[in-house]
């Protein structure tokens, strides 16, 4: 079947506004009479608040009010419900907001925060989740039993555990006994910051009549409203949340935001609009970041490579608040088996409070974490068993239509083709073919593989909907709430609408503002679900609209509905193209020559509702957590400097089974973007804390992001199209996936070639250098000899 728009490299539809600098972000908005807020944050990691004295701050000209936590004791949250608007009795991390200054100018607010005097009585602080788990550990959340949490989670009051996820399938002990090779390994990752370029910023206007208007740089409107409604007790229809263009999200603008707080500040400031803009420093010390973790894994394999038993314990360092990380902990848990069939599996995933910065999801939502462990286990087992890493993968890959995942869900027949993903990956990277020798003999070149699978982490009842309304000229306004932070989803959705109606793309419009009042509801655009769920809702809305159109046309053309078709903006009788009505004569109702009219304005509606997903059993983790699976893989060829520990990616290959590529240009762009972010996080990014719990690198000079000069030299993206029968045009989601495989592929390359295990992220030069020295002193020695006797003088390259 050939399409006009679907499958075509259509440029991003918001391109014009973005290249001309006229796309509007919350960051750019001002409201008349607007005030500025600035947070006063804690300087100590764990303490009781003895006194807050705001009198000096109030003396700063321009300061309107200073608000403290006690005055507005609202508890907010989406999943864990564990947070007060501002600290009330206790501060729990360095950077914890204890008060907010509201002033006529940002300058005055910034002056005043220095003059808010807070007296603390320090408590011992816990920085490591393993410490927090000890039976005698101090409690960070003393009132956990009061928290209103979602039924999907299991907090354990009286401990520091915000969520305990358990999964049991088969008999893992028996599985180990029956394995020929059993490995035990440990892995760790550090905290990272999303570093979306647009900082978190919110404008709230709490009107005198009780209506609250919000403008925010967040991923989705619905959860913002939901959190505000539940925690502040405001009826949903009195909260209007608007999101214009968003300068990046990566999961970091999906959980709990600042909207409820800023709404309260607006109320406190005499119902004037208030804007809060975080500084980059606050992004690194006060906004939520991605958690760190420890993982302890044990894996049993049969001689022939069969993955027989797997037991893994994830300990997530969730920091002081874990509103979204409880869900990450759950996703890490139920994705522990990746894309392999493991008959016996035990998972425990603990989301644990510590006195560090709060945490939330980051692109991949637990999947990069679980795959960092699993994909390295596979390579380590392969080496022990003397089996090729691609072969051991081939052997254990799930079989759609037959296999069950670790939650006991049977994989659909049309879930994708993991074997083809693996084969394509192996071919593209030239697996088995040795790399060329590096020009400098103290370096080595190596290749590594990693596979992955991902589905959206979401509640079972996460719905989506779409409204599609026609204008007089048969142009279309599509009212959707799909998040719009750079993923290209909206362009793809517009392509689908244009395709279905046979209209030029210019005739389809999606406004750039998402609005709880005007956009059709969608639960959230996270977990790479937007195209899938909202796409389905849109297709249903299209069907609904078409039905209305054909009903009228069939009467006018005196022809049964099923004999009609929509071509080039006209309704035609099949086989008699001269019997037709232009769409614009129908979409507002058809008028006969005598003035009699039938039909009326066409408005299509459609919904997506997942009918087969369930909550997971709290004791065994069994159930259907997700609406689709996307399979993929990453392979890298890299060069490792044995002397400095530097890793340089020469080639990265990404293969994804997307079902259907709706827009090759934008899919490629997402793939590249994920590879680059993945490289950055794998090699360099890490939030560092000192012994006082202070973040010591809260800026882009000491927290390094990959720049344009650090790109992998070559990138290859390949897509497989095994249609998902219920997906829009057979498509599945992609957004986050492209990042998952990068870190394990890099670590595997190094392990395969020289046997050095890299258990920690980031794999920065110093860490790799240490690992090399400890694990392969012989190689380092040899490299050193080569280096110091090196004959060839190369041009100085810096």
């Amino acid at each position: 079947m050939s399409f006009k728009y679907v499958g075509k490299p259509i440029p991003p539809q918001d391109g014009f506004l973005k290249v001309t600098g006229t796309a509007t972000y919350t960051f750019d908005l001002e409201l008349p009479g607007m005030l500025y807020a600035k947070l006063v944050t804690s300087t100590v990691p764990h303490a009781r608040i003895k006194k807050i004295d705001v009198s000096r701050a109030l003396g700063v000209p321009g300061v309107v009010r200073v608000v403290t936590g006690k005055e507005y004791p609202y508890r907010v949250g989406m999943y864990a419900g564990d947070r007060d608007l501002l600290a009330i009795d206790k501060v729990n991390w360095v950077g914890h907001p204890v008060a907010a200054v509201i002033a006529e100018t940002l300058e005055a607010a910034e002056k005043a925060i220095d003059l808010v005097d807070v007296e603390y009585e320090e408590l011992p602080a816990i920085f490591d989740p393993l410490e927090a788990l000890k039976p005698d550990a101090l409690l960070i959340h003393e009132k956990m039993e009061e928290y209103r949490h979602s039924p999907a989670f299991k907090p354990i009051p009286g401990t520091n555990i915000a969520n305990k996820f358990t999964l049991v399938r088969g008999d893992v002990e028996k599985g180990f006994r029956e394995s020929d090779v059993v490995l035990e390994e440990e892995f760790h990752i550090s905290h990272v910051s999303h570093c979306y370029m647009e900082v978190q910023n919110v404008i709230a206007h709490y009107h005198l009549d009780g209506t609250v208007e919000i403008w925010t740089s967040w991923q989705n409107v619905a959860p913002v409203r939901q959190i505000m409604a539940l925690s502040l007790g405001i009826p949903h229809n009195k909260i209007i949340v608007r999101i214009p263009y968003v300068g990046g999200g990566f999961g970091g603008k999906a959980g709990l935001g600042w909207e409820a707080l800023v709404a309260i500040l607006s109320k406190a400031a005499g119902h004037r609009p208030v804007k809060l803009v975080l500084s980059r420093k606050e992004q690194f010390s006060t906004a939520a970041v991605r958690e760190g973790f420890h993982a302890f894994a044990k894996a049993g394999f049969k001689k022939d490579g069969t993955f027989n038993a797997y037991s893994v314990r994830f300990i997530l360092d969730a920091g002081a608040y874990a509103d979204y990380t409880v869900n990450v902990g759950r996703a890490v848990g139920y994705s522990a088996d990746g894309c392999y069939e493991i008959p016996n599996i035990n998972v425990e995933s603990l989301t644990v409070y510590t006195n560090k910065i709060p945490t939330t999801a980051l692109r991949g939502f637990g999947y990069p974490e679980s795959h960092w462990v699993l994909e390295q286990i596979i390579d380590r087992a392969a080496k022990k068993l003397g089996i090729d890493p691609s072969e051991i993968r081939r052997k254990n890959l799930v079989k759609p239509g037959h296999s069950h995942t670790c939650t006991g869900e049977r994989l659909r027949e049309d879930a994708g083709d993991p074997q083809k993903v693996l084969k394509t990956l192996v071919d593209e990277i030239g697996w088995g073919k040795p790399s060329e020798n590096p020009p400098e003999p103290w370096k080595v070149r190596a290749k590594g593989l990693s596979l992955f699978v991902k589905g959206p982490a979401q509640p079972p009842n996460a719905a989506a909907s779409a409204i599609l309304k026609f204008n007089e000229d048969a142009s279309i306004d599509l009212l959707i709430a799909t998040g719009n932070f750079g993923q290209g989803t909206v362009t793809a959705l517009m392509q689908i609408v244009a395709e279905e109606f046979g209209l030029p793309l210019e005739k389809v419009r999606v406004d750039y503002v998402r609005d709880t009042h005007k956009s059709a509801y969608t639960w959230q655009t996270v977990g790479s679900r937007g195209l899938f769920t909202d796409g389905i809702a849109i297709l249903k809305a299209i069907e609904d609209a078409k039905n209305q159109i054909f009903t009228v046309a069939s009467e006018v053309l005196r022809c049964p509905k099923d004999q009609l078709e929509l071509v080039d903006g006209e309704v035609r009788v099949k086989g008699k193209p001269w019997e037709k009505i232009p769409l614009q004569d129908i979409v507002m109702g058809y008028t006969y020559p005598n003035g009699n009219s039938i039909g009326g304005p066409v408005i299509g509606r459609g919904v997506f509702m997942s009918t087969h997903t369930t909550y997971l059993d709290p004791d065994t983790g069994q159930g259907n957590p997700t609406i689709f699976h996307t399979f993929g893989g990453t392979a890298v060829e890299l060069e490792l400097d044995l002397l400095t520990g530097e890793i340089n990616i020469l080639k990265a290959v990404e293969v994804l089974d997307l079902g259907k590529v709706i827009n090759p240009l934008l899919v490629k762009q997402q793939t590249h973007g994920g590879l680059i972010m993945g490289t950055s996080i794998s090699l360099y990014e890490e939030i560092k804390f000192d012994e006082r719990g202070w973040v010591v690198n809260p800026n882009f000079t000491s927290y390094y992001l990959v720049r344009i000069k650090d790109l992998p030299r070559e990138v290859v993206a390949r897509y497989i199209e095994t249609p998902q029968l219920d997906g829009p045009y057979g498509a599945r989601g992609i957004g986050e996936l492209t990042m998952i495989g990068v870190a394990p592929a890099i670590a595997n390359a190094i392990y395969n070639s020289i046997g050095v295990k890299l258990d920690r992220l980031p794999m920065n030069p110093e860490y790799v250098w240490r690992a090399l020295r400890e694990q392969r002193p012989d190689l380092v020695e040899e490299a050193w000899k080569r280096f110091s006797k090196y004959e060839k003088i190369v041009e100085v390259t810096i």
């Binding site: 944050t41 910034e110 807070v118 560092k688 003088i793």
Partner: protein
């Protein structure tokens, strides 16, 4: 009190833009401790945002004609005025051809947009341990010209930088220019920086020898490894005394990595830095002496 310095705005001050050096010096003499000189402002404004500095007066020297000069005189050397930007230095032919280490250091520093404003003199006066500028200058034995209303003095860059953000400058003084001595035609110099995965260097080296065939004068200056740039005097001696230059390079590298002061910080540990010192030394010296 809040954690860190989360400010986006600047504290208040009065801005001055003198048109002559004399006027600038008078202003500085009047306000002294209350004033700060601003060249490119790249460092000063960032420091003020962080509240590390909060001068009541900012004296912008960009309009002073004599500070804009960069010129080379045979026999005398190169003079770089206080408001000459990194971009101008990077594009300067003599710098590229003759003062190679300086050229490389400037090229490797920050980015082209920053360099349109940042000055070399500002880079020195900032005296942040990680910066690149002072390292080659010390290797060239460069000197600063420093003026106040009633005095002009010269001081080697190496003495001027006393420690992290600590310089030998009176509150009423301005650094007017940096002087690099003329170099013998056989002289060689190189700069190298290790900063993979970091904006700032973890370690740098600027090396200078008067003659790579018959070295009689050699300087090895390491930056970003300690609280200020450090010289490896013992290692320099090895280069000058050891007849077998290939051997000397290795020995000097070993020596340098042991003899100099090195610290641990956010960017790297002492161990790793000492190791980098060794690598940089071999890399740079083997290029200078063209040995394997």
């Amino acid at each position: 009190m809040s954690f860190g310095a989360p400010y986006l705005t600047l504290p208040e001050f009065t801005y001055h833009k003198p048109k002559s050096l004399k006027e600038a010096l008078q202003l500085l003499n009047e306000f002294r401790d209350e004033a700060k000189v601003m060249a490119g402002g790249v460092g000063l404004i960032a420091f003020m945002k962080e509240r590390l500095l909060a001068p009541n007066h900012v004296i912008d020297i960009k309009d002073i004609p004599e500070l804009k000069i960069i010129e080379y005189r045979k026999g005398e050397g190169l003079k770089i005025g206080a408001t000459v930007t990194m971009s101008e230095i990077e594009k300067h032919d003599i710098v590229r051809e003759k003062y190679v280490a300086l050229h490389q250091a400037v090229k490797a520093g920050s980015d082209p947009i920053i360099k349109n404003r940042a000055t070399l003199v500002g880079n020195i006066c900032e005296a942040i341990p990680w910066v690149d500028g002072p390292v080659p200058l010390i290797a060239y034995n460069a000197e600063l010209e420093i003026m106040s209303v009633d005095n002009v003095r010269r001081m080697p860059v190496s003495e001027f930088i006393k420690g992290p953000v600590e310089i030998s400058l009176e509150p009423n003084e301005i650094v007017t220019s940096v002087y690099l001595p003329d170099l013998p035609p056989e002289a060689k110099s190189l700069f190298m920086k290790f900063n993979t995965g970091s904006e700032f260097a973890l370690a740098t080296l600027a090396a200078y020898v008067n003659d790579s065939k018959k070295p009689r004068d050699a300087r090895l200056v390491y930056g970003a490894v300690s609280t200020k740039p450090v010289r490896a005097y013992e290692a320099e001696k090895i280069i000058l005394t050891n007849k077998n230059i290939s051997e000397a390079v290795i020995l000097a590298a070993e020596k340098a990595s042991k003899e100099i002061d090195v610290i641990s910080d956010v960017l790297a540990t002492e161990d790793y830095r000492r190791h980098l010192v060794k690598l940089l030394t071999i890399n740079v010296l083997s290029r200078i002496f063209e040995v394997g």
